[in-house]
Amino acid sequence: MVKYKSKIERNFKQQIFDLLTSNNLLDKIRISDHFIGSLGTISFNEAVRKDFIKNSFANMIFQRKILCQFISILMC
């Protein structure tokens, strides 16, 4: 059964391949692609300042709003 299935698959693959090669379709095929990678680094502050990163929680901490509240609670 497995052999029979693989034979059909093989024939199908071969037929598709023959179709592509016989019509010179292979030479005509053009593929578009995306390429990805890393370019380097930028400073976090500049990204936030120029509104490329919205980081409310970190800003709150570093504006010391939460930190001050936390310390004041501890002091109480």
Binding site: F17, D33, H34, I36, S38, L39, F62
Partner: protein, 173 residues
Amino acid sequence: MPIYKHSDVLGFAEFRIPLKSKTKLIKFFNKLQAYVFNRVGFLLFKQNTLEVKFQLLTEDSIGVKSCSNLKEELEFIDINKSLDLTRKNIINLAKNQLFNQFDSFYFQEYEYLPAHHTWVGQILLQDIKIKNLLKNKKIFICGSPSNKRLGPFHHSLECSNSIKFNKNKKYFD
């Protein structure tokens, strides 16, 4: 941040929390923090730097040929023999735009990963033999190829939206 060539969008640069670290624990913590930030938009600890990642587009630059050893296998080829140069030029373009936009941009060249998303099919669909086979329902297409062109952004959302808004159109019998 979009990257332009004249007025065309070629792709984008995005800023991510750097994951690299020598210590496994810090690496794990950075990954966790990046995950939370990417999903929710909250950053637990302020970073000093952000990593600049890019995704850029090269259109119709890759061809295929059959492998000499295995007749059923195909391999990608560079049709103009200048794909690396084209990609380097595009990276330089992105680099210059980032230098113009950010004073703190520090360029470090890393190897890129090609063919992250690929798209092909217009030429196959225009071929008469393939057209007839499709018309006579001898072959069915599952996914690519299609008449769409690969844009600078990921095509999944666009494709899913076009299917969603054309509910009456039959894609499969």
